[in-house]
Amino acid sequence: MGKNEFKSYPEGYQKLMKKIVPWYFGPMREKMMRLLLTILTDG
């Protein structure tokens, strides 16, 4: 297992978003990340 280097907010969150959603920009990137977050929190 790796280490969660993204635990801080908003720095870690933003850094992770740029790493895993690289091909979307601006509001679309944010929206994709929010939907993933919703699945992980509610699902």
Partner: protein, 390 residues
């Protein structure tokens, strides 16, 4: 008829029924979820994370049962995404059951923290609490794998939309695409995720002002913009069977006084906007809604369709003759009756509730478990409803 024309004719049929226009036949929106997995010869653990199997269950269902709509086209559960992230999800499954553990993201005292910044709250509170010590081990490889599964899931949704729409002429229920902003009232979010059933029930009595403050802010930030969008929009969108699909569940733990304070003002504002634009709204009233019938009696025919779960449809028609009924068929009969008994009851529903429009045949309860229906009974009912002429 090709699939495109078939899809459009089905949308028209649902819209006509919702608008209380006489139709040649009663449309059938199958309220079938995981029952079709068993019916196709699988167990749930074989299907839930295998998109090929899930697609097979949908195709087999649509090949066998002549329905006009299907509640779940195999895309409801996101286990591939949550499992890629690791153990700890609220939803679970085994061979026979998919379930969800009651959970609460907040306490009454942290509700405003959540509203201040939901992403921050999820990041700093919900996810660390939910995943415990393993949260510290969610390295980049886990996140990449999870995001990759998420994209695969999105592609699968688009694929299934194409399979059901372009091959089988099946319309979508409503444009409640989360990317477009699904409408969830604050009270329902409290019930389902933020406080859970137990905490909300207690909080409505002990901390009503805090609950009201949360709901007012949630709806000002989320529902008011949606209402503006509805009012400034073009009205009905005939690409879908309904213009909106809303879930009501939290009312089941409320008395009338609580309903009037926490639920109705926000619901009314939303429904009034749909009514002004002549739009069709489906409300899935889980549990029972009959004791709150009076609140809905002034809406014009065509605005509301209530998908009933436990209420008697004939009593409901008496109470609210202005509201289209969706549902009626009981799993009790589908599971334990004979094909003749099931068809006789289906005929009664169509004749008594749908003669002048205002009725969409469906199952009250989502068919989920193996024994929710006997397949011969279900086949007999589907064949009857699709061929019966009023």
């Amino acid at each position: 008829m090709n699939a495109k024309d078939l899809k459009q004719s089905r949308v028209q049929l649902f819209r006509d029924a919702a608008n209380f226009k006489r139709t040649e036949r009663i449309p059938h929106f199958a309220n079938v979820v995981t029952w079709k997995v068993f019916d196709a010869g699988y167990t749930l653990d074989q299907a839930m994370t295998n998109f090929d199997v899930l697609e097979d269950t949908v195709v087999k269902f649509l090949e066998r049962y002549p329905v006009d709509g299907l509640m779940d086209v195999g895309i409801r559960n996101q286990f591939t995404v949550t499992e890629a992230f690791g153990q700890g999800g609220y939803y679970y499954y085994n061979e026979e059951v998919v379930g969800i553990h009651d959970h609460a993201h907040c306490t009454v005292d942290t509700l405003m923290d959540y509203l201040d910044d939901p992403a921050k709250y999820a990041w700093e509170v919900i996810l660390p609490k939910k995943y415990g010590e393993s949260w510290d081990e969610k390295g980049l490889d886990v996140w990449k794998k999870t995001f990759s599964e998420y994209m695969r899931y999105v592609k699968y949704i688009l694929h299934m939309s194409s399979v059901t729409g372009k091959q089988y002429g099946l319309p979508s229920l409503s444009p409640n695409n989360p990317m477009m902003g699904a409408i969830v009232l604050g009270i329902e979010e409290l019930f389902s995720n933020l406080l859970g059933i137990q905490q909300l029930s207690v909080a409505m009595r002990r901390s009503p002002d805090q609950i009201e403050e949360f709901i007012n802010r949630w709806d000002a930030e989320r529902i008011t913009p949606a209402i503006e969008k509805i009012r400034n929009g073009k009205g009905p969108n005939y690409k879908y069977c309904f213009d909106s699909s809303i879930l009501m569940l939290a009312h089941n733990v409320m008395n009338k006084k609580q309903f009037e304070r926490f639920y109705w003002p926000h619901m009314k504002e939303l429904l009034d906007a749909y009514a002004e634009k002549g739009m069709n709204v489906r409300i899935f009233t889980e549990g029972s809604i009959l004791r709150f019938a009076d609140y809905f009696k002034d809406y014009p025919k065509g605005t509301l369709t209530f998908h009933l779960e436990q209420d008697d449809p004939f009593a409901f028609r008496e109470a609210l003759p202005n509201v289209c009924i969706m549902g009626g068929m009981t799993t009790d009969l589908l599971a334990n009756g004979t094909p003749d008994e099931c068809v006789a009851y289906a005929k009664r529903l169509c004749d008594e509730l749908g003669k002048d429009g205002g009725f969409i045949f469906s199952e009250g309860k989502m068919l989920s478990y193996r024994n929710d229906a006997n397949r011969d009974n279900y086949k007999a009912v589907c064949d009857f409803v699709s061929s019966y002429r009023l």
